[in-house]
């Protein structure tokens, strides 16, 4: 089992470039990449959007995992390929990129779903080889000897009644 995962600056920039093209092409509200642990890997929001992707990421991750389990209970062998939440104003489309990473697209109801699916598929194919690069997982040092003490100090400062 791999203990840690990382994303290099180069990977991040390539992914961001893919997401930026997608959001501009379809005038989407937001596009973000989430992993199975509910973490945001990269995000691109339109200038008018203000919602908190920190919250949306674990919700998207959880709902995708729940859908996968439903599929498994129905006898499906592979993961769910896509999910759609239809709402009054903003729809949400989720599609798997790899077994542990998926793309979340938020778009106005006026944007054609077919277009979203078509361009999402193209974006997935661009993202897959970028995510395969695991060079950012290999590193020897992250924290030095002072880190733990500094973190403890910061935590004490953050808790208002400590």
């Amino acid at each position: 089992m791999q203990y840690s995962k990382g994303m290099s600056e180069n990977q991040y920039n390539q992914i961001l470039s893919c997401l930026t093209k997608l959001i501009q092409k379809l005038r989407l509200n937001a596009v973000f990449l989430v992993d199975g642990a509910g973490r945001i890997l990269a995000e691109k929001l339109s200038e008018s959007e203000k919602f908190d992707t920190t919250i949306l990421a674990p919700l998207a991750s959880g709902s995708y995992s729940a859908a996968n389990e439903m599929a498994r209970q129905l006898g499906e062998k592979s993961n769910v390929k896509m999910m759609l939440y239809e709402n009054d104003n903003k729809n949400v489309f989720i599609s798997s990129v790899t077994s542990d990473v998926f793309l979340v697209i938020v778009f106005e109801t006026g944007v054609a779903l077919g277009m979203v699916r078509l361009f999402a598929k193209r974006t997935l194919l661009q993202l897959q080889p970028i995510l395969l690069d695991d060079s950012a997982n290999q590193f020897d040092e992250l924290f030095d000897q002072h880190f733990q003490g500094l973190l403890n100090e910061k935590l004490n400062q953050s808790f208002l009644d400590e």
Partner: protein
Amino acid sequence: MFIHWALKEIHLKIVYYGPALCGKTANLEYIHSRIDPSLKSDLVTLKTREDRTIFFDFLQLEVGYIENKKPKFNIYTVPGQVNYNHTRKVVLNGVDGIVFVADSQREMMDANLDTLLDLEKHLIAEGKTLEDFPWVLQYNKRDLPNIESIREIETKLNFFNVPHFEAIATQGKGVFPTVKEVVKLVVSNVQRHLEDGKRMRA
């Protein structure tokens, strides 16, 4: 753990685990109510109509930059009810540290142990065990009348001698010491894994 080198962010996932109604959500609610607003996300709770956690609660904590790195703690609870087994497995995906919240009431000792064994089963599926994983025990509801002594609970649950804390989560007692300890253990564990990897490659 996930390291975002471009943003200099270190994402660490901490899960509060324990039997139904032991006080996992109460821990998060207290943390959320007492943290500097600029350092926290909203608290998301996915509940049934009966106010029971059906999927998870979620809260992200930040502490700002430390030595040019920004640790972010993604804190989750699991649903405690027995029939939400798969949901607990989903929430544990990518977990870095666990707070096991035990209910101190005497009649809950079997449920505490069953849930701890359930946790071990899920950890094994992730390639981890309770022996080599950062986790702490919190003995909650110490204000109730019919509680087990700490010595007895220790014998029944703390086989691996992990750090333990007495708590009354609804009043905030023991909540911060618990979360600080698990954060400390998680960071030490990351460091240990990195040093092991370095030695293996040398």
